[in-house]
Amino acid sequence: MLELLSESPIPFPLILPTVSLLLLAVAGSFALHGWWSGQARAGDTVTSWDIAAALTFLGCAAAILGEIEHVIEYLWLNDTRTKPANG
């Protein structure tokens, strides 16, 4: 599993935040579908709103487990490496 992750085109610290972004994007499209088709938000049946909510929950969980320190460390280290030094 770790070998598979190390070969991923996405850098390791960004995998969970990327998964989170994807989940929230899919959640957004389910919510749009629910809104567009006029589905009821309450009720016993599973609707697009429920799927959107479940995906949002999973997206938030993935974001939390993504550890902000590692994300910032990776992004800003890369940023400073690519910038030319002043002076």
Partner: protein
């Protein structure tokens, strides 16, 4: 004004600008996730008309606290044990939420009493207190985490703050509704917040340990 518009256009039309925007979205997504879950958890037990008030209050508090903490980051970084205190505060919120989860929804007698017209076990005030205490802890953690980045990218962080507000509002609303419908998921949410609290306490303890050791020897 022209320079601001030029800045926005440059951000949205150049690859470098879009990459920077992507970075900001990713960081703010990570920052907004824990707030959204805790606000959703706290708001879930409330009647529908009070839920939106609680969510709005939570978002305003989280945003205000982040602005305040970001403006005094240097002073905050100088205080030893702040992270540990924040973690313990969040642990207290977890305990309160755990007790609520074990309350009427899981207790048929209490649920019957509620149906008979007894006062609800959770009030807007209780939910607000939980949200604000959790917001203080988590916003503190988030601001301390991005302290270095904030100094170099203030414009990006301001944009991110706006994005966080929208994300938190929508996500907390969805999560609160989901937890109302499927109460068991609240235990998963609670476990996630417990993880955040544990992580803060662990990092806070590591920060405090040298001072404690030097005091004891």
């Amino acid at each position: 004004m022209d320079s601001i518009i030029a800045d926005i256009v440059a951000t949205l039309t150049t690859p470098a600008g879009l990459a920077a925007l992507g970075q900001v979205i990713m960081i703010d997504l990570v920052l907004a996730g824990d707030n959204a879950i805790v606000i959703g958890l706290a708001a879930a037990g409330l009647p529908a008309e009070q839920r939106n008030k609680a969510i709005l209050l939570g978002i305003l508090a989280a945003t205000g606290l982040r602005i305040i903490f970001a403006s005094v980051t240097v002073q905050l970084l100088a205080i030893v044990g702040l992270l540990l205190a924040g973690g313990i505060l969040l642990l207290w919120v977890c305990w309160k939420m755990w007790r609520e989860l074990r309350g009427p929804h899981h207790n048929p007698d209490a649920a019957a009493a509620l149906a008979d017209g007894a006062a609800p076990t959770k009030t807007l005030r209780q939910a607000a207190l939980q949200i604000i205490v959790a917001d203080v802890s988590m916003s503190l953690d988030n601001v301390l985490a991005v302290a270095g980045a904030a100094r170099e990218h203030p414009t990006a962080l301001i944009f991110g703050l706006g994005l966080s507000i929208v994300l938190m509002g929508l996500a907390a609303n969805f999560i609160a509704r989901l937890l109302d419908k499927h109460r068991w998921i609240a235990y998963v949410g609670l476990a996630i917040i417990l993880y955040v609290a544990g992580d803060m306490i662990y990092r806070g303890f590591i920060e405090v340990r040298p001072y404690v050791v030097s005091l004891l020897t």
